[in-house]
Assembly symmetry: C2
Homo-oligomer: 312 residues x 2
């Protein structure tokens, strides 16, 4: 019997990755492409073409394609599989029934969910979340999102917003956020927000990477911005630790990686805020994900859907 | 066959209630007593005495006592059933194995949990939460606590802190909170905190009830304090709506009742903060609980434990 492989796709604002993942979580083949090509609005056909290309690698490598799953930057309606209008990074995905398109293109069952949800499920199935009964993954990058896995299932809430932990307020009358509200965690820790605040205070344009470099080099202004990000993140993590007290709390994404050298300070700030009993039982970990492993998220969606069908 | 009844107990900082509740959620008998008597540290024996008294009403009224459950003001260890040291309102409960004491005293299975968890389960089983797949209850009174019911089960997290939604920060460098942190939701909306802030601003001692009366009568200072409570509550509810997007969000307790006349304004403030798609699918409701119905929480714990035993 040929071994099964699941096609995992991670649709990003800039790059889309696709990979074949075994039922044990090993990535056996993969490709990356820019999400957007030269033509306007060509992201969806490009994702489908990449999916077909990588699906075609299964048989030559001795695998049978058992399903496809994709993580996308947006809220996905759990009942219809249609991507909502909030996919800020790839607006043309709004309203697209991507699962149906993938199923039609590849002839295998397809599952689509929010990218951070997919990542959280992948880590629970094969990564830093193995064995956890409850897991929260917070992804800090261009945006800030969360994924909640409880008893091995993604918690989505009434309409798929469950886990939108970037848009929890940490400051009553704080910075304006892209979502229209004020004081959201995202407004203090996401890359574009750090860049905007750093540029404003420094009086010249800096991106988040340069801001972190300046802070590491001792620049007082950059340090103040990064300190505020750490404090806001400590408050956001307190919401998760006190409010949900999950077994595992995983931090992923480019901004989490940039903050990892200051993990001890983050923990100290968190300890001043959270209940000691909750903090002692929620294991906090920084994830060093590479582009190769993010495709495991989509594959985990596909594998879990296959398991559900087998038990139905 | 004699119908079953469950003994439900609600241990409060001032008053303890106990009642017999049918499997359909009807309260058929009940008693209330002050939690503390004349002797220091007599709360536990008084709770046990009240439990025995009300348990004794079952047979004369034609019911067979099938179990006992108690909601207590503190964090309860799910594995051992021992009450943690954080029971601020009734400190002597800390470390007490109340479930074991109740089982021994009454000769029936016993379940003990946090009072707000119990209330949330009771509302899910028999009240305003019936039919919800996901439910969050936020109780606003002397303290602020939360209960989370997912797929008919209480979500407790790693060590029972799951749902401690009074101690989520809504203001980075905000008011000091009794828990040791700063800017917790509780510090803006709990009775003692409203009283402290109102007294400070008015220059004379007022309790929360008088503060609400003054605000309703048009006093500008009192109105400012109540407005700030509304805004902090809107932020706290945004955390729940965006972060968890539950089917139902129930507000209970004396402060929720006092704020109920301004529900429309609370909803407007919430609409300025939360995702429209999340808010449209999370049904918000103010609960008018009386002392009689709070005993249903403990009874719900007992009934759910009985169902679990029947399926084991």
């Amino acid at each position: 019997m040929t071994a099964r492989a699941f096609l995992g796709i991670d649709v990003g604002g800039t790059t889309t990755s696709a990979g074949l993942v075994t039922a044990q979580g090993r990535v056996v083949a993969g490709r990356r492409r820019p999400t957007h090509g030269p033509a306007a609005g060509d992201a969806v056909p490009r994702v489908l073409a990449l999916a077909s290309e990588v699906a075609g690698l299964a048989r030559p490598r001795g695998y049978r394609l058992a399903g496809v799953g994709a993580g996308v930057p947006g809220i996905v309606n759990g009942a219809t599989g249609v991507i909502g209008g909030e996919a800020h990074n790839v607006p043309e995905l709004g309203g697209v029934p991507l699962a149906r398109l993938l199923r039609r293109a590849l002839g295998v069952p397809a599952a689509v969910d929010n990218d951070v949800n997919a990542l959280a499920l992948g880590e629970w199935m094969w990564g830093a979340g193995r064995g956890a009964r409850s897991l929260v993954l917070l992804a800090l990058g261009t945006g800030v999102g969360g994924g909640i896995v409880l008893d091995g299932r993604l918690y989505r809430g009434a309409a798929g917003f469950g886990g939108e932990l970037g848009h929890v307020p940490v400051e009553l009358h704080g910075r304006p956020c892209v979502c229209g509200a004020r004081g959201c965690l995202k407004a203090y820790v996401a890359g574009p927000d750090l860049s905007a605040e750093g540029s404003r205070r420094l009086g010249r344009p800096v991106d988040a990477a340069e801001l972190f470099r300046l802070a590491a080099g001792g620049d007082a202004t950059a340090t103040a911005v990064v300190d505020q990000a750490l404090e806001a993140l400590a408050a956001g993590l307190t919401i998760i630790v006190n409010g949900l007290n999950p077994d595992r709390l995983l931090l992923a994404g480019s901004i989490a990686r940039a903050l990892a050298p200051r993990a001890a300070e983050l923990r100290a700030r968190l300890a001043r805020r959270a209940y000691a009993g909750a903090l002692a039982t929620t294991r906090l970990r920084f994830l060093g994900l590479d582009k190769r492993t993010t495709v495991r998220g989509g594959a985990a969606l596909a594998r879990q859907a296959a398991i559900a069908r087998a038990h139905a």
